[in-house]
């Protein structure tokens, strides 16, 4: 089972993960990562923009890569776009596999790529207005682990 989505509205990860788990009977385990908008001082909201012709196709390519690299039974990859409030989920990646190492590895792999190689631009609203979030060197180092 493969479920890749961009969501313009708030979502509740449990409502996706439950059916995803049910849809992969016989699996040994499922690993899930949910990222939320961090409640940093002065941050009121986060906006994610994307480029439709590239972003979702890029996520599908990433899923192809995960299925090639890990022995997976299913992969759920959901990313928010639009304006998010602090505490709202931004991203949810869930991988089902017969063996735990494949499930955990696939989530790690997808998250590193979503964070630094997917076509999302983020800006945060602080009391003095909107500020674009720059690339982080750490994210690029994380990505190199998979070369």
């Amino acid at each position: 089972m493969r479920d890749i989505r961009l969501l313009p509205q708030m979502f509740i990860p449990g409502t996706l993960i439950g059916p995803f788990t049910q849809a992969n009977p016989g699996m040994g385990g499922v690993c899930t990562f949910v990222g939320e908008v961090r409640g940093e001082a002065d941050v009121e909201a986060l906006e994610l923009t994307h480029y439709a012709p590239l972003t979702l196709p890029g996520m599908h390519e990433l899923a192809d890569g995960a299925f090639e690299r890990f022995e997976l039974m299913g992969l759920l990859m959901v990313h928010r776009i639009g304006v998010l409030k602090v505490g709202e989920p931004i991203v949810c990646v869930s991988a089902a596999a017969a063996h735990r190492r494949a499930a955990i590895g696939a989530v790690d792999f997808c998250m590193d790529h979503l964070k630094s190689a997917a076509w999302f631009w983020k800006r945060e609203l602080r009391s003095d207005g909107w500020h674009w979030i720059q690339p982080r060197a750490q994210d690029h180092d994380d990505l190199k682990r998979w070369d």
Partner: protein, 80 residues
């Protein structure tokens, strides 16, 4: 018809607009000359990519956009 140029992420702030239309056909030199200077400066950086007709160009200087094409100017994506 024209070529539609989209400014993604922080490039929209630099351009003062989310998009602009430019006459077709459009090549790399034409693009650099037509966009705001602040955007042109960014475009010369390796970490800024260009997509044409839904594909990221391996070599953006090879840009050849025809009538009705959409070009997207892609600055580095934000960190986690």
């Amino acid at each position: 018809m024209a070529v539609k140029v989209l400014f993604l992420g922080p490039l929209a702030d630099l351009a003062g607009a989310a998009q602009m239309d430019l006459p077709a056909p459009l090549d790399w030199a034409g693009l650099l000359a037509a966009v705001p200077a602040a955007v042109a400066l960014q475009l010369t950086e390796a970490r800024v990519h260009v997509a044409c007709a839904g594909r990221v160009l391996a070599d953006k200087t090879e840009l050849r956009a025809l009538d009705g094409a959409e070009i997207a100017l892609l600055p580095p994506v934000s960190g986690g």
